[in-house]
Symmetry: C2
Subunit: 257 residues, 2 copies
């Protein structure tokens, strides 16, 4: 690493997990880096390359990780920061932008590129039909960075709007009750028959996709890697002999809303 | 094609357009098909293969196209139906599910697979920072299949919820005024300084990304292939010397919502 500003930072979305769902652009960005930063399980998905150094981290301290990556890039390294799914959806791209805004001037002069990927809700949706087939929203259930009252406000408005709701970060060791509370709240605004999909590791060998009703949705079925899709009163379920049912949101909405 | 039920239908997301942003899974699904259905400009992106037949269509008549593809699959063909972006986001996956629900019993016995892709809002977001960095929604501005009053209701509730708003299908020859009306409506619910990104052909040679404020956003800058991202009062713009500004939605929200 020289002191020149020839370094750069690429923030890369690895997609939902299976190699066949990672774009060639993402694979090339990983391959081209001298230095790989990222949450350890994401780094573990990638082939080792001689001369490439890895700096694994846990999934907290995003700003510290972003700052370390920017510092290395400013010192001349070709750095890739990897995220699961898409880096712009509840992942590292925003943390990198935030670190640049509040960091030294030199970081604003760096070449920074975001490489998009298939985010979890799209991978889960694909495995059960087209549950995001009409207007939808994506909401992180984490109240680490926003007040829980704001999460509740958004859930209620999303239900009122008739958006399909994709929940990211539904639960963690430090946040055990939030998903149960979200289901309870939504049961006050949506009928109990509304379909709820729990999707984990979509497209991977250990994939788990479960279809329930809102009335019976059990928060204990989710962990931090689960993406949850909550349908609307319009959502349809098509039963198929010997095959998994198709869940889909119709493209058309009735005239009386 | 035999009369057996060995046929199958794969609904494939080609991603935003550049080959490097198409997943290997999508490329393999296209390669494996005997018969390709899709909107003509999407088919035109794909390499020709001997023995593979193409059935291009215009971008209307989605149910007719889905039914023709299902019929061919039921007759024994290996069929791929291609969509730009992700097939589950305002694209063909929901139309295929709908055709299966209302079609002959044989269609429910068919093997149907959806292959996810990078949808337009993710590709556009990646090109300008992380504008989808917190909770967001995706909304089609087309009132072909839902009443315009429902679009307005959703826009207002989304603004009230503080969601970043991604608009798909903002304009077409048959729908010239809807985007202007949407901006006008949102100006009544959000401050004029809120950033608005117009993104077209993200990641392709003819890419056009424009950053404006809500106050100055001009609907005439959009066409049917534009994806529009409307920020929130939280959205930040980071100016950089000699480089495009970064637009991002901070991960954290203030305690008072």
């Amino acid at each position: 690493m020289s002191g020149e500003t020839s370094g750069r930072l690429t923030v890369v979305g690895l997609g939902p997990g299976a190699a066949r769902q990672m774009t060639p652009e993402a694979a090339a960005a990983v391959e081209a880096a001298d230095l790989l930063f990222g949450y350890a399980p994401y780094l573990a998905r990638l082939p080792e390359r001689a001369g490439q150094k890895r700096i694994p981290s846990d999934n907290r301290e995003e700003i510290a990780r972003a700052s370390a990556a920017l510092e290395a890039a400013a010192a001349g390294a070709k750095v890739a920061m990897v995220s699961g799914g898409d880096p712009g959806v509840f992942a590292m791209a925003a943390a990198v932008c935030e670190a640049i805004e509040h960091g030294p001037d030199a970081w604003r002069a760096l070449e920074v590129e975001m490489v998009p990927g298939v985010t979890a809700m799209l991978a889960v949706a694909a495995r059960c039909g087209a549950p995001l087939g009409h207007d939808f929203c994506a909401l992180s259930l984490s109240d680490n960075l926003k007040p829980w009252a704001l999460v509740e406000k958004r859930l209620v408005l999303a239900a009122e709007a008739g958006f399909v709701i994709a929940l990211y970060n539904p639960v963690s060791r430090a946040r055990p009750w939030q998903l149960g509370r979200a289901f309870e709240l939504l049961r006050g605004h949506l009928p109990g028959h509304v379909p709820v999909v729990f999707g984990r590791a979509a497209g991977r060998a250990d994939e788990r996709i479960g279809l329930f009703t809102l009335a019976e949705a059990d928060p204990a079925r989710a962990d931090m890697a689960t993406c949850i899709l909550i349908g609307t009163t319009e959502t349809r379920i098509v039963l198929r002999p010997g095959l998994a049912p198709l869940v889909y949101a119709p493209r058309s909405a009735p005239a009386a809303s």
